[in-house]
Symmetry: D3
Subunit: 249 residues, 6 copies
């Protein structure tokens, strides 16, 4: 998936992508598989998130697991818990998505951990766990989507176990490289294989909706005439484009 | 109910109206019937909502119902789902109240549907379901009360079925024409028959409370002396009014 | 839908019918419409329920609605609340399905109300509300599916409003005449139009699964070979039938 | 309140007492104060509970509180935590009601603690916390109402703090000496001052309902004619009693 | 860990093991890591479960993952989804523990899948998901612990992804080979390294408690004297043992 | 505890204090006693709260309790409900902490009650109940932490019962005089006996973390090298301090 496609996706609303995926049968062919995260919301509204998923999986705390994770070290001498390693694996355009097993009251990191992630140029944070030092983390100015804010440090409840494996987050499957798209309506996950098609369809879909809105504003016509999209919808849209009245991006 | 009474109600706090209804036995004569909606909150705080209810009832999705609703048309050629029809039935002073069966993660509409409602002059939106394109909808500048924001389009979960019938919303009965009053404390529903009495009592009640606050500020007297309202309360209030110190609206 | 088809449906497991509906795209064509009720369970396990839905819709209590409902009378002189009327409208093979708006702690009836329903020969009770006098009601020996047991009389929280209209119950659409099928796994709702096809497919499906079980027991073969159903599955099933080893109903 | 009155109350259903209290305005005069416990259910169904409340109040665990409670001793040399003391304060006819702050996953006691309570002749157990060793506790054959069963020992989460003070349990006020009445429908709390009136009214109420049931069974008459209770109801009831057909207790 | 130790553990109550682990600091050294599963209960009460964990991890459904899992085959020609493979990996003394991400309304298997597991001699089932065909599965007579019963087939919501890896189940870490101990109080997870110590301590602990109970029964002495365990407790216990009055296992 | 120590505590983050208490074993010696409130959040983010607890305990409403509380009067002639009395008992540096039994939809007070508290110089409000007139209360400019906003007046559901006794709030023990520390991450409760030690350790802890952040910013070094705190961490910190590069408070 090219950066151009990613950028196009980033112009779409999360609700539009949800709609397009749904109409294409995603989450329907074999079942009603989820597309949108539950109980994950922006800590600071108004910041669009788009990027490629880098994943981190947590498990409940236990001493034997804690001992293994905290003391094992890589050749680079760094403290080798998967959480620190995954952060160094992130770069520009990446979104760190952490499966905290839905524990929305337990912190997955704060000012220092996520400050390092920000320093590495990551596009944002998504977790169904919590963020501590939430305000300084948000004040870095990037998109932060989480299950909540918390004082409770993660180690009391859960441990980072492995990274860049398939995970759940907010009840949705996330595989490394999936596209993560978030806005105030929610966070949707888009398998990379759908990206080009959705980017193209989404651009068209939102253009038609801008025509409907503009038409409504200028002509006082109920949008009811144009839903579900029909011949009249496309005729109106094309007429507006031909006349140069097509709404601009 | 006159527009003047509606305007007077609109000056009251939702908590005051709750109190007055409660003291009059509403929700108590036959039972403990609810007055205030649960799990419905303003998407943008600080915007008072008052108006007359126009109601819309949703039901869970099923293909046979979908086929009936989406394809039936009125003589005016409009797409005749009840959702589109109810919007055209709304005008200035109306509040569209949608019974989404408490499905706070499923959208009842977004920028286009609710943009049309706004264009028709409606006073606001109330639903125990969600809003998609929530930010553009809120940015129109009117009061929007909902169960949440969501990417999930309603059709995947529920269908508009009929309008201007009695519904539940947030666990409260809403009949067409009821007064809907919302502020940051919550949304209360006031049967039209109570409107005049509540408007009059509420005006008096809030005036007395302003006197208590003013008295507290000027004399450093605990309001405890004046609760529950007693002879001394009214004496103090009348004395302040007589002396021209009655707090102003 | 004939009584024979209804009887065939009654031999199937609720999970089988869920599977067959799901594979046919019910709840998937336009969305992920629900098929199985949430938060509705048998008060006495082990009693299969099957019948045609007769529906009752509740709304939250309010004095004006209470006054209308409780005092209006039909020509027959009976107390004409919709709850009493719907019970007299039920007969053998009918299941009374009550939409209690998910209020699982509020009673929809008890020994007397449901005793009358039993006396009229109804096939059972389904509600997402509660049952009071739950034990005597259950002790009549029929299938009772509810959101819970409760002392709280319904009138304090909700009122029966209308009957034999489309409702939700446990989050699922129920229309009058739909087939209701319940066992310890849950309650599924089957639109009448699907009944014949599901009855036929279900009979075949459960026969194949009995062959798989019998084959597993006799040959110690993992059922994994036969899922998803494939050529080998059908070959094995037909061979067992031909050899007279087909499992009996 | 005499033992006779208590015995009469014990013959009534919890739902009947709820209804009678509700109609008398309990929980309505000043508000909608609760009468029936939430999230408290019988661990073994079918065992009626009636008795006078002895109360125990828990608070969240903290080391300083733990140190005070566990080490302080009374003159009798017993381990003086309030939990042990309250058990020795219970005797025949008493129900130990423990306010576990709704922590339904944390144990308030098990086989040994509650075995001692049983040995002292107490009428039963009510708590919105959990019971550990639940099966041996239940197997003593008495009524046990709780928020759940649990392995989690209470001391990890909460401490017994004081006894025979007013508490909440399951969201309801319980004062020492209140009557606790429980059956499979739920647990209601009855202030001692209401006991005589409720006992008398309940006896009459249930007799009338037995007449309605008997009348329905014998005459196939819908109970709808007799609700709400009216002249015809009482006439029918008295006629049955006069003819010796009054249902027996 | 020997089979003898496992058998000794199986004689202990889950609450006893919880207590012993807690007192040894498990779940406390680095944090308050969980020991007991939440929202997992026996479908049929009264059946003790003990065995070694074999683990299965589910992820949310998505078409690309479904395609990979359902069509890949091992050299043995079996349908190679991890769920079928893990069942063939189980034998006597094994407990299949499935991480269904807490989706208590979605089935992880039913009569056929779990029938095969039973045929292979497994000691029982634990999952925080649901069981379909729950009654036939339970009727095999073994211990079945789950989040619930359901008609909803798993494939609509989640997919088996990998087995014999560390998982969460009911909020607790489970590693392959851990001891799983369940009774009506709950399910506790015991790392194999603790087994011998807990078996020995548990045997002693329960013997002392039997002495306390027997002493209470015979002498009418409050157990308060013996808690927390102290010199007097041990003296009483040893005296009973010396006199041959030690309670028998 | 001196005002200086209180002021030092007030400079720390709630998450830091949680961490320090946790590492000292608070909430771990006898159990996993809670330190941080659940379901209590700032109504206006960004306002640090620190002060000494003054406590108020609510109980569920009942008429007999209402009658006792509302009519009893102290010698000063004031309406003597515990709520009014506790407010007059508060002064500068005090935080009123109200145990509303977790009823987050029921008001504990509004503009007038809390306006009086503000007038008396209290440092802030904490409750697991709700606030009515929430916006005017927040607009006073002080820290307000609550379970929510509500129109529902407290008297309909609960009554103030006693003050300056140990309570729970948000699931945590609060004793009069405890230190309450709140920020956007949450509210932690600190027993006075720990104050000096935590103030000293917290100052050091946050200084080291500022060094790590500064070092990261200047040297692009991953903080992973410095966690958990080790020799290298302290060396780096001391080096920065020696060189005058120690981050300033």
């Amino acid at each position: 998936m090219s950066d151009e496609v990613l950028a196009e996706i980033g112009k779409l609303g999360a609700a539009t992508v949800f709609y397009l995926l749904h109409m294409r049968g995603v989450g329907r062919k074999y079942g009603s598989g989820p597309i949108v995260m539950q109980n994950v919301a922006p800590l600071a509204p108004g910041r669009k998130l788009v990027g490629r998923a880098v994943t981190l999986r947590y498990l409940p705390t236990r001493e034997d697991l804690q001992a293994e994770i905290a003391t094992s070290s890589g050749a680079d001498g760094m403290n080798a818990t998967p959480r620190w390693r995954v952060i160094e694996a992130c770069g520009p355009g990446d979104v760190l998505v952490s499966d905290a097993m839905g524990q929305s009251g337990t912190s997955t990191g704060g000012e220092i951990v996520y400050g390092r992630l920000f320093q590495r140029g990551a596009a944002g944070i998504v977790t169904d766990g919590a963020i501590r030092d939430a305000q300084p983390t948000v004040d870095l100015g990037w998109p932060v989507y989480a299950g909540g804010r918390a004082t409770m440090i993660g180690e009391t409840k859960m441990l980072p176990y492995e990274f860049n494996v398939p995970i759940q987050c907010g009840g949705v499957l996330v595989r490394p490289g999936d596209i993560i798209l978030g806005d105030d309506d929610g966070v949707v996950v888009l398998a990379a294989g759908f990206a080009e098609e959705v980017a193209r369809a989404g651009k068209e879909h939102e253009a038609i909706e801008r025509s409907i809105l503009a038409n409504m504003g200028e002509e006082n016509v109920s949008p009811a005439h144009y839903y579900p999209f029909n011949e009249g919808t496309l005729a109106m849209h094309r007429a507006r484009q031909a006349s140069g009245k097509g709404a601009q991006e």
